[in-house]
């Protein structure tokens, strides 16, 4: 236990350290908006996707709680695969579209949508339906773009367990807000791919290497990339042959959306859709241990 004196001393020491090492990149200090919040979660069901998105976010207090007027926002759906909407390999385009509209309504000044895909990026953007859904919004503030090869930068992972350094996509880190829009899918190595794994879409490097220690690696990555809101698309989920699927037999329609400011909390609930308990999924446990959210669903307030 710290006593008050120690606490003050340590605070001053760290302040000095930060002051002296003026070169410490500001990006590494996560914007502390929701970090101190209680563990909250909103789950809604329904078939009308735009309405469902609005209801789910309204339960959390509305998009205004996450995006303030004049801010820049990155919306990160899963656009990883060259698959059609119904194959449940990518985030549903209507989820993306509605979230972007909500950001606009909340006063965002610039909204960027991108993903580092696994298949050819151009095909993924088209086949997923996300490119056309975003372009339909037809606002100058909204831009769906391919990754800019110039904008990756290798950063120190200060508290990394599996990784010491990794290459990150700066626009995702530099934006004021990052909204994570994963789709809930089966994945053979991490069992499931949810919110934490979705942020692998804004890192560079040879991502295949991460699969050897995937749980800790993903937790490491998530300590650098802070997402302000995680909205998991479980309108339809992929229960086998993930993460890219390709067969309708492997798709289950669930008409569900899960939202939480805490990435691990959202993931923990999503795991139950597949019949798992959160603590059975290594990645979720690792995320909890790094302070990415409460995963004991009994301690989470469902709004």
């Amino acid at each position: 236990m710290l006593d008050r004196r120690q606490f003050i001393r340590q605070c001053l020491q760290s302040a000095c350290a930060v002051g002296v090492a003026g070169a410490v990149p500001q990006l590494l200090l996560p914007p502390a908006v929701c970090a101190a919040q209680d563990a909250v979660l909103a789950v809604r069901r329904g078939e009308d996707i735009p309405r469902l998105v609005r209801e789910t976010l309204a339960a959390l207090g509305g998009m205004e709680r996450f995006v303030r007027s004049g801010e820049t926002v990155v919306v990160k759906p899963n656009i990883g695969w060259d698959r059609a909407v119904e194959m449940a390999a990518n985030t549903h385009p209507l989820v993306v579209q509605t979230v972007v509209q909500l950001c606009l309504e909340a006063g965002a000044q610039k909204i960027q949508i991108f993903d580092r895909t696994c298949n050819d990026p151009r095909r993924c953007y088209v086949s997923s339906g996300i490119q056309s859904a975003v372009e339909q919004i037809d606002s100058k503030k909204v831009e769906i773009m391919h990754m800019d090869r110039r904008a990756y930068k290798e950063l120190e992972i200060t508290n990394g367990k599996a990784l010491g350094r990794w290459s990150f996509y700066l626009p995702a880190i530099e934006a004021d807000r990052l909204i994570n829009l994963p789709i809930a899918k089966h994945h053979s190595i991490s069992t499931l791919t949810l919110g934490m794994k979705n942020l692998m879409g804004v890192i560079g490097g040879n991502r295949g290497m991460l699969h050897r220690k995937i749980a800790e690696s993903m937790a490491d990555i998530n300590t650098v990339i802070h997402s302000d809101l995680t909205l998991i698309d479980a309108t339809r989920i992929l229960v086998a042959n993930g993460p890219q699927g390709g067969r309708l037999e492997d798709v289950e329609v669930r008409n569900t959306l899960i939202a939480s400011p805490q990435i691990a909390t959202a993931d923990a609930y999503a795991a139950t859709l597949f019949g798992f308990q959160p603590h059975q999924i290594e990645t979720i446990v690792a995320g909890h241990q790094r302070g990415l959210g409460e995963i004991d669903l009994n301690r989470v307030t469902q709004l």
């Binding site: 151009r122 095909r123 050897r212």
Partner: protein, 508 residues
């Protein structure tokens, strides 16, 4: 500038830029089907037509009818293609100008191209198609694809990167402002890299440097397409008069880009109807008219022609005398839809269109995988790029039917090879570490790579591991597993030719 010359240069440049524009469109642009007939250059190509006609299997005139139109036009206007339309000729005119020395005593071997054409034709008839190596349009496009375009992308991207990083006032914002236009219109989506790019560039460079010996060295002496069009041109309606230099003025001898007036017997075949002489003739003696001239006997050496033809005919069995590649190696992966190897080599004119359009950068020019005469034909090098499951672009651009046009449904079922695991290097087998990248990326709906959960001893410690296994009946050989395998250097899972759909011998 004189009127005729001006018009020809306008048409020549417009054609060159038109083909360059088509080249830039030879890329996925948001729709499964390409919007433009990007391989028009080769559908116009009589040599491609010959290759397709001589190949076994039905020759697809739906694809190659424009070549007949070109031949027809040549019978009317003569060998106009070479000076008005040919993009390689345009390159020679453009780059050759500063290299040229006007008064060159060099005569060259203007008849060699006819012997070459005879040899190539006979070889092709007998089963060895080599038109592609010498086809000027193939030389142009594959140089563009394999060398010029990658270099252009590298230079442009380095410049933009530099401005982006240097963050200079005024200059960098300007560069960043124009960058999206370059990125979307003029640059490739991903930096193209190709095997054989240096070799291909050197060939082109040599041909350009030969301009120093005489103007249009390639066209005068070697071009088999020029020879073919020249033969038609002899009988064309549009002919020049007089056929040789006038005794009092030798200007044509030094000014004609083709040296066509040197020999009356071949003038009609050598003249490319550029019409420059109409402008430079000081005495206004030259006319081009649609009147039949007396055609003199083509003064080719009968003996050499026979020797060239025989040589060509013998090349075919010589090539066939080598053991079939498929009998001793398994890395000859052809694009999806490629016809059986024998027919494939007889159809493929080495134009490089498929390599340009390949969305995954998977197709590369071959050197020796397919035998001594497979040079520049496309092979899939899966470690460098994979075949995208729902992409059918290579079949769409192939002008000769060497790669058949597949529907997406057919494509998904076309096996181009089979993945096999190298257990000495694959992490779960070789080091007892988990790794499942190949399974994650496997695109067949029901995955062709599955896991076996095994208890293994890592050292003396028992460990439960997932180990990948390939289901041979589901694997289509797309190669994404080989591309994405995280092991450094060569992949721990590789594509071999076994079981490819086009082979007669399927899976064991």
């Amino acid at each position: 500038m004189r009127v005729n010359r001006k018009w020809r240069i306008i048409v020549q440049s417009a054609t060159l830029f038109g083909f360059l524009w088509l080249f830039l469109q030879t890329e996925y642009r948001g729709t499964d089907e390409l919007a433009y007939p990007v391989s028009l250059l080769f559908r116009l190509d009589p040599l491609a037509l010959l290759a397709a006609v001589f190949a076994p299997g039905a020759s697809n005139l739906l694809l190659l009818w424009p070549a007949l139109v070109l031949l027809g036009l040549t019978f009317v206007f003569g060998r106009f293609f070479c000076s008005w339309l040919c993009p390689l000729g345009a390159m020679f005119d453009f780059f050759g100008a500063p290299l040229r020395r006007l008064s060159t005593p060099f005569i060259g071997w203007p008849k060699a191209k006819y012997y070459l054409l005879a040899g190539l034709t006979l070889a092709s008839l007998c089963g060895l198609q080599l038109f592609g190596l010498f086809d000027p349009l193939s030389i142009f496009l594959r140089s563009l694809t394999l060398a010029i375009n990658p270099v252009w992308n590298l230079l442009a991207n380095s410049a933009f990167n530099w401005f982006y990083q240097a963050d200079l006032p005024l200059v960098s914002p300007t560069a960043d402002f124009v960058y999206p236009f370059f990125r979307d219109r003029l640059l490739a989506f991903q930096q193209p890299v190709f095997l054989l790019s240096i070799f291909t560039a050197v060939v082109l460079l040599i041909l350009i440097l030969l301009e120093r010996l005489q103007s249009r060295f390639w066209c005068r002496n070697l071009c088999p397409l020029g020879a073919l069009l020249g033969i038609c041109s002899r009988h064309s309606l549009l002919q020049r008069s007089p056929q040789t230099d006038c005794s009092d003025c030798q200007l044509c001898a030094s000014h004609c880009r083709m040296g066509a007036t040197a020999d009356a017997s071949v003038q009609a075949a050598e003249c490319v109807r550029c019409l420059d002489c109409l402008d430079f003739c000081p005495n206004q003696r030259i006319t081009f008219s649609f009147s039949k001239k007396d055609i003199r006997r083509f003064d080719l050496s009968r003996r050499t022609l026979l020797a060239a033809s025989l040589g060509g005919a013998i090349m075919a069995p010589l090539a066939a005398a080598a053991p079939l590649t498929s009998s001793y190696r398994s890395d000859l992966i052809r694009p999806p839809g490629a016809v059986a190897e024998d027919e494939f080599l007889r159809r493929c004119i080495r134009c490089g269109e498929c390599m340009k359009v390949c969305i995954g950068g998977a197709l590369h020019p071959d050197l020796l995988r397919g035998g001594a005469f497979s040079l520049w034909s496309p092979v899939l090098v899966a470690r460098l790029g994979y075949c995208e499951l729902d992409c059918t672009l290579c079949g769409q651009v192939c002008p000769t039917g060497a790669i058949a046009l597949l529907t997406v449904g057919e494509k998904r079922k076309t096996k181009i090879g089979l993945a096999v695991i190298d257990k000495d290097r694959c992490l779960p087998f070789a080091r007892g570490e988990e790794c499942l990248v190949c399974e994650e990326h496997c695109p067949t709906g029901k995955k062709a790579i599955v896991f076996d959960r095994r208890k293994v001893l890592v050292g003396s410690e028992p460990k439960e591991l997932l180990q990948p296994r390939v289901l041979t009946e589901l694997c289509i050989g797309c190669g994404i597993c080989e591309t994405r395998c995280p092991v450094s250097g060569a992949s721990a899972i590789i594509i071999i030719t076994e079981g490819e759909s086009r082979a007669s011998l399927r899976l064991l």
